[in-house]
């Protein structure tokens, strides 16, 4: 199977879209936080917690969408913690984020061991199944690639459109963008910077958790300790790559996922026989660094990103 065959196969693009879905959720979440001025490095831990919370909820008997909701709420809970420390108290967003990732990860693993003390391999659930959208899924190439995905993938794209709409077409979105650019402008217009930023961090963290839950509820059907495996950090790079714009971030996620799908396929080709598999596994991380370097000079960073707002500053 040569390179060209891979790139023109529907299965390849279907895989790319599938791999992109959790990244889209989490990247949107991070983008919301950063647009309001808060860097959320809790993303990795929140994805782990979301993956577990959604899965265990379904394992306990909730419907799949119930699991998604539980994941979202779990993420919001961690977002509330991050927001409280980083917004009104203005603590270092670097330290709070890393601390939150450590906390969320260890809480998840602890809970797993408490809830399932005796299992040697994690139980499986009935995960989301692909849903073929009538008519659209019959389009050659595009149909199987785009319109034979699981409902949660469709939700990812709907959410991207929704986030873009809210950010650019509603008074709330304007307030969020202004909070990340000039919090004093927001305060001078009688709005609460604290409330806006807290809200953004809480909702954004919910999105991150759903991104994690995609892994257990749609991509796979079970929970493993290292399943998030740095995807959170990659999403932070994707936000930069997407220049803090939802549309570009989604494109970036798909591009990134396509490379990931490609390396998986290349491992099975003649190239894979010579090149150590570790090099393929490194690709996503190397690509993320490359993306950061490429965008470093171009991107328009929200001016007040990582700048706490203390209105009493004298």
């Amino acid at each position: 199977m040569d390179f060209f065959d891979i790139l023109t196969s529907a299965a390849f693009w279907a895989a790319a879209i599938r791999i992109a879905s959790p990244l889209i959720f989490a990247t949107l979440g991070e983008l919301i936080c950063e647009r309001a001025g808060v860097l959320n490095l809790g993303i990795e831990g929140i994805m782990v917690a979301g993956a577990f919370a959604g899965w265990i909820a379904v394992y306990m008997g909730l419907p799949l969408w119930g699991g998604v909701a539980v994941a979202f709420l779990t993420g919001m809970g961690f977002g509330l913690l991050h927001g409280t420390l980083s917004v009104p108290f203005g603590l270092s967003q670097h330290v709070v984020g890393i601390g939150l990732t450590l906390l969320a990860t260890s809480l998840t693993f602890y809970t797993y061991r408490v809830v399932l003390p005796e299992v040697s391999s994690p139980p499986k659930i009935e995960a989301f199944q692909p849903f073929e959208i009538p008519l659209l899924s019959d389009i050659p190439l595009l149909g199987p690639a785009l319109f034979s995905q699981t409902p949660l993938t469709y939700a990812a794209f709907i959410m991207a459109a929704l986030v873009a709409f809210v950010l650019y077409r509603t008074p709330l979105g304007l307030a969020v963008r202004a909070a990340g650019e000039s919090p004093s402008a927001v305060a001078a217009q009688g709005l609460s910077v604290t409330a806006i930023r807290m809200g953004a961090v809480i909702v954004g963290s919910g999105f991150m958790a759903v991104g994690g839950a995609f892994l257990t509820l749609s991509a796979f059907d079970s929970f493993f300790f290292d399943m998030v495996n740095g995807r959170g950090w990659i999403c932070i790079a994707l936000v930069v790559f997407g220049a803090w714009k939802p549309g570009k971030a989604v494109l970036g996620a798909i591009l990134f996922a396509a490379f990931d799908a490609l390396q998986i396929r290349l491992q099975q080709t003649t190239i894979g026989a010579v090149v150590p598999y570790q090099l393929f596994l490194m690709m996503p991380y190397l690509l993320s660094i490359l993306a950061l370097v490429l965008m470093s000079r171009r991107a328009e960073v929200p001016a007040a990103l990582m700048v706490p707002f203390n209105k009493g500053e004298r």
Binding site: T170, P171, G173, E181, S182, S184, A188, G190, L191, G312
Partner: protein, 513 residues
């Protein structure tokens, strides 16, 4: 006048007191504002003007006292309520988001956040109407980050008018404007007042107060110390009331210019973002002279200051210090060539807030004078700090105090001491008295005059034209990175300098040369 006395009271402050820790920013302040009236709130830096206005606007909560707008008491600490009641505020430091458009900045916060649609069409129509009515021309689709300072101020005023403000608070609105732009602002204000708006105008510039206000209130150390109708007072009286006594700025006696210590010939630098760089600037600093740099902020003062400080390299032109060409320029080189630098922002550039006075005192000289083979000599450093504290009258608990706990004046005295102690040949003083009270202002000016007499070349950068005209032997005006020829003391009136500040004259000067 009598007609206004009977007019409706739109704003009433009763017994406002506000403390920050040990500092009493406002002490039992009460006053009324009538419909169609312009009140000037006058006072030195730190007299409590801005705090008082922030209380009216709901950004601070008063410890005691009440604010009434149109007879209704405002809930404390709620800017939203103040805006809804018709209070609009134009802050001294603009509160605008640079990457949003003009209309987005104006509309921000005016529509319910739960609303599903940002109504841009109606908003733009309303803005256009207001702009026409009050002669506030600005493109609603432009990104605010690309606007000039004057345009930004128009956006700030439009923001207030868009929210139907009937009381407008302007905090030092002319600080960043040319005299001509200030006149335009006053015209707009008169127009608005004619239509029933009431204005509180905060300033420390007496001629402006005399020009625009009906009545003036003088605030000193947080207390309301005087109230005068403009017709019944004079600039001299207001000046005395403001500082609580007579003021005598240092006398600058004429003395012959010494040799040229620094010479810029056709120097250009790269700008930073929106801030312009220098454009083929010619400037010579002579020993025993104070050279004043006048201009509206953001016109290249930072570029010139950064160049002389060593932060920026010239991209073209000749740069000589004491006759020797400058190469491989850096802050450390600048220091070693005998340039003393008083930076514009003493809190963020001049000092490190959480370092103590000792550490701040040796920040520039530690490597040369207080270390051997990489080892610090803290005993000597502390002795230096103690001597600076004594010599320059820095009021503080001791050299181990974190500098963030000092007042602006004492912080500036330490920086001044740090600079003067190295006996610099050239002194860059960028806004050396901004935000200081009159005692500290006179102290700093006196020390600069003393350094001049000892033969230093002083470059004084200020946005305060009065300060420039009082102290300088030679005045240059900077506008969009271009430098005017030097005008010798006494040859130019403020209005003429204002023309240059607005950018007139440069084309002719370029032709002539």
């Amino acid at each position: 006048m009598s007609q206004k006395a009977q007019a409706q009271t739109v704003l009433r402050l009763s017994n406002i007191t506000k403390r920050f820790g040990a500092l009493t920013a406002n002490d039992d302040v009460s006053f009324d504002l009538k419909r169609g009236e312009v009140i000037a709130l006058l006072g030195e830096n730190g007299a409590g003007k801005t705090t008082l206005m922030n209380i009216i606007f709901g950004q601070y909560t008063a410890d005691t006292g009440a604010v009434e707008v149109f007879g209704q008491e405002l809930p404390p600490g709620n800017p939203h309520a103040a805006l809804d009641a018709g209070v609009g505020m134009v802050h001294q430091h603009f509160t605008l988001a640079g990457n949003l458009t003009v209309w987005e900045n104006i509309v921000l916060g005016s529509q319910r956040l739960r609303s599903l649609r940002l109504d841009s069409k109606a908003a733009k129509a309303k803005i256009a109407g207001l702009a026409k009515r009050f002669h506030l021309v600005v493109d609603p689709e432009a990104k605010v980050g690309r606007l000039t300072v004057g345009e930004r101020q128009r956006v700030e005023i439009l923001k207030a008018l868009y929210r139907e403000a009937r009381i407008l608070i302007l905090d030092e609105p002319t600080a960043v404007l040319t005299p001509q732009e200030s006149d335009a602002l006053f015209a707009t204000l008169r127009e608005a007042v004619g239509q029933g708006l009431s204005v509180v105008f905060i300033s420390h510039k007496l001629h402006e107060v005399m020009a625009i206000a009906d009545r003036t209130l003088v605030l000193r150390h947080g207390k309301l110390v005087a109230e005068r109708a403009i017709g019944d007072t004079s600039r001299e009286e207001l000046a005395a009331l403001m500082v609580g006594g007579k003021v005598s700025p240092p006398k600058i006696d004429a003395m012959p210019a010494g040799p040229a210590l620094m010479r810029l010939t056709g120097v250009s630098t790269k700008g930073e973002g929106r801030a312009p760089g220098l454009q083929t600037v010619n400037l010579t600093l002579h020993a025993g002279q104070i050279t004043g740099l006048a201009g509206v902020s953001g016109n290249g003062q930072k570029a010139l200051s950064d160049l002389i400080s060593g932060l920026v390299q010239p991209s073209a032109g000749g740069f000589e210090i004491a006759g020797a060409e400058v190469a491989d320029w850096s802050p450390r080189r600048a220091l070693s060539r005998g340039i003393g630098r008083i930076p514009e922002d003493r809190h963020h550039t001049g000092t490190i807030a959480d370092f103590d006075l000792t550490e701040n005192a040796v920040l520039e000289t530690y490597a040369k004078d207080f270390a051997r083979h990489g080892w610090m000599n803290w005993a000597d450093a502390k002795a230096r700090a103690e001597s600076l504290i004594a010599t320059y009258d820095v009021r503080c608990p001791g050299p181990d105090t974190r500098i963030r706990l000092l007042s602006g004046g004492n912080m500036q005295k330490l920086i001044l001491g740090r600079v003067l102690e190295t006996a610099p040949r050239i002194i860059l003083a960028n806004q050396p008295v901004r935000g200081l009270d009159i005692g500290a202002v006179n102290y700093v000016h006196g020390r600069l005059a003393e350094a001049r007499e000892k033969g230093a070349a002083v470059l004084l950068i200020s946005e305060d034209l009065d300060e420039i005209m009082t102290l300088s032997d030679v005045i240059h005006v900077i506008s969009e990175g271009r430098l005017s020829p030097g005008f010798v003391r006494g040859t130019m009136r403020a209005e003429d300098l204002g023309q240059w500040m607005a950018g007139a004259g440069f084309a002719e000067a370029a032709h002539a040369s």
